[in-house]
């Protein structure tokens, strides 16, 4: 039954031809990003030039570029930006990991138990509508002025999307498959781990991507509110000194960090949901 005939090279070519992609699919992503970026910068430049908006409100691309060069130069020569970036990175990574752990756990409790859905869910939602800023003093009181309180703030802000998406994913499980597991007398935990969680992976990864992004925000909020030594603090100082170009440059650096974590989660997702075509 095996097809152990030697494969004709023409077949390989035809197969590759079948799998050929459109122009845009073949264009490398960096090029597309660059092109789109060029468009954005052009619009930005025009907006600044023709709207006559003050540089103190919206700096032009050129000014931001200058500040960006300064910032990157400082970063790579190991200046204060390097120190701040390192601190922020550590906070973001730990914040994200903590958020993922909390989010998955809560999501499972809410998605898999009636008690969780009915009694705990409203509290989780309520906590999340609360302005986190108000909790900053509590976090500082409990975790001090060091990176711990920023990590907690980041986790606190970003666990929620993981929770909601995990819960939604668990609830979406295919009913035929549920019946299969029921017939196998799978207990709740087995159904959760072997059916619902794998089925929910696309949901969970959407949540993790959100958490990656919000971790950065959380760290910045934590530093804004409770002092710190990271990029958030640099942004705050620059903003209070009305160095708006510098603010934008440092924000770009923060975005880059967020994009990296996001990209990392995307890679993980590719690995884990490769069973989907």
């Amino acid at each position: 039954m095996t097809d152990k005939e030697t494969v004709d090279p023409e077949v390989l070519i035809a197969l590759a031809e079948n799998e050929r992609k459109t122009l845009i699919e073949r264009t490398p992503q960096w090029l597309l990003v660059l092109l789109f970026g060029a468009a954005v910068v052009t619009v930005w430049h025009m907006a600044v030039t023709y709207s006559g908006i003050s540089q103190l409100v919206l700096p032009g691309p050129y000014q931001v570029l200058q500040d960006l060069i300064f910032t990157l130069n400082n970063l790579f020569t190991g200046g204060y930006v390097a120190h701040a970036t390192w601190i922020t990175l550590v906070e973001v990574v730990f914040g994200f990991l903590l958020a993922s752990a909390i989010g998955l756990t809560l999501g499972m409790i809410i998605g898999a138990t009636t008690l969780g859905r009915k009694a705990i869910m409203p509290y989780v939602v309520a906590i999340n509508t609360m302005p986190k800023v108000a909790f900053a003093p509590l976090f500082v009181a409990w975790f001090g002025f060091g990176i711990e309180s920023k990590i907690m703030m980041a986790a606190f802000i970003s666990f929620f999307p993981v929770t909601i998406n995990t819960a939604a994913g668990l609830a979406a499980t295919d009913s035929n498959m549920s019946m299969l597991f029921k017939s196998l007398e799978a207990n709740r935990w087995q159904t959760l781990i072997k059916l619902q969680m794998p089925y929910a992976t696309p949901y969970i990864f959407a949540g993790l991507k959100l958490a990656a992004v919000w971790s950065v925000i959380g760290v910045v909020v934590g530093e804004y509110m409770g002092g710190g030594e990271g990029l958030g603090e640099l942004v705050r100082v620059a903003a209070s000194q009305l160095r708006v170009g510098r603010v934008f440059a440092q924000i770009l650096l923060l975005s880059l960090m967020g994009l990296s974590v996001f990209g990392f989660v995307t890679l993980l997702e590719r690995y884990f949901v490769r069973w989907r075509r």
Partner: protein, 307 residues
């Protein structure tokens, strides 16, 4: 006669700290000058200056430090009236720490709040005035006043530089703070600024605004109960507890009082020089401003006193 619509932005929402605007609005002093004023509040002087630059407001109440920064970066504003002649900031310590004066802060950490960058300049100057050098202490950003409670508890800081309203709040909530601010600092606080364009094209309007504020300040110093009443229209929550509001208003009036024989609202040159020097030392300003008189003017205050 038709009223001119103008907006003034404040860097905070306290009705007591910024009562002249509210009183002038409520008591019709603006109207007498042909102005209909909308009062808006933002968070910090930076935001105030940005809103003015964006053309969203004609007037604002920024601090002198941020104004110097803004002008150095190309902003077009004119500072024309001094509100907090005696400064906006206080250096406060925890009585339990046993530190009694600013000299005692050598080798400690000093907390600064986040509302504005100006308290850093202030604290530096204050400590320099008693001979404590910048390398003898460290600043920690601790955020809002509430954090100070924890920071003192944890001995993270031994002093806290913040606006006097923040310190008043701490006192009011029973935190045992002690004032460590040295005497004789030239660093005055927030005042009124106008967009340069309006100053040049429409000086009568600025004069009218200054006149109304002047009148309101004087009125308020004599009618604290009236101020409380007016304040309710702007920030009801603040005035809810009368004793607190009254105490706060007292402090505000103390800080408003001009130094020496200066007229109410007068902007002393020595103060501007002190700010300029301080900003250069901390590196906030990259280069010196040649002529400080482009930043401010006393012409309206002088006219007021002439009458």
């Amino acid at each position: 006669q038709e009223l001119k619509q103008v907006t003034v932005v404040l860097p905070g929402s306290s009705a007591m700290a910024w009562y002249p605007m509210i009183v002038a609005q409520q008591r019709g002093f603006f109207e007498e000058e042909g102005l209909e004023v909308t009062i808006k509040s933002l968070d910090g002087s930076g935001a105030v200056l940005q809103a003015m630059e964006a053309g969203r407001a004609e007037f604002g109440a920024p601090g002198p430090g941020p104004v110097l920064n803004a002008v150095a970066r190309g902003a077009d504003v004119k500072f024309f009236y001094n509100l907090f002649s005696r400064g906006l900031f206080v250096l406060a310590g925890d009585r339990n720490d046993g530190i009694e004066s600013a000299e005692g802060l050598r080798g400690t950490q000093i907390g600064v709040s986040t509302a504005d960058g100006a308290e850093v300049s202030f604290a530096r100057s204050a400590l320099a005035s008693v001979g404590v050098e910048p390398d003898e202490y460290k600043f920690v950003t601790i955020g809002q006043e509430g954090m100070a409670v924890t920071a003192f508890d944890r001995d993270t800081i031994h002093a806290f530089a913040a606006s006097f309203t923040g310190i008043a709040v701490l006192k009011d909530r029973g935190v045992d703070v002690i004032d460590l601010t040295p005497e004789g600092l030239d660093l005055f606080g927030n005042g009124l600024a106008v967009r340069g364009e309006i100053y040049r094209d429409n000086p009568e309007m600025v004069a009218g605004f200054a006149k109304a504020i002047h009148k309101a300040t004087k009125w308020g110093m004599e009618n604290p109960e009236g101020v409380l009443e007016d304040g309710e229209t702007y920030n009801p929550q603040e005035v809810e507890r009368r004793e607190y509001a009254r105490a706060l208003l007292d402090t505000v009036n103390q800080q408003y009082a001009p130094i020496g024989d200066n007229a109410l609202g007068y902007l002393p040159e020595s103060g501007w020089n002190a700010w300029h020097k301080s900003l250069l030392e901390t590196g906030e300003l990259d280069a010196a401003i040649e002529d400080l008189s482009v930043v401010y003017t006393n012409e309206f205050v002088e006219n007021l006193e002439a009458k």
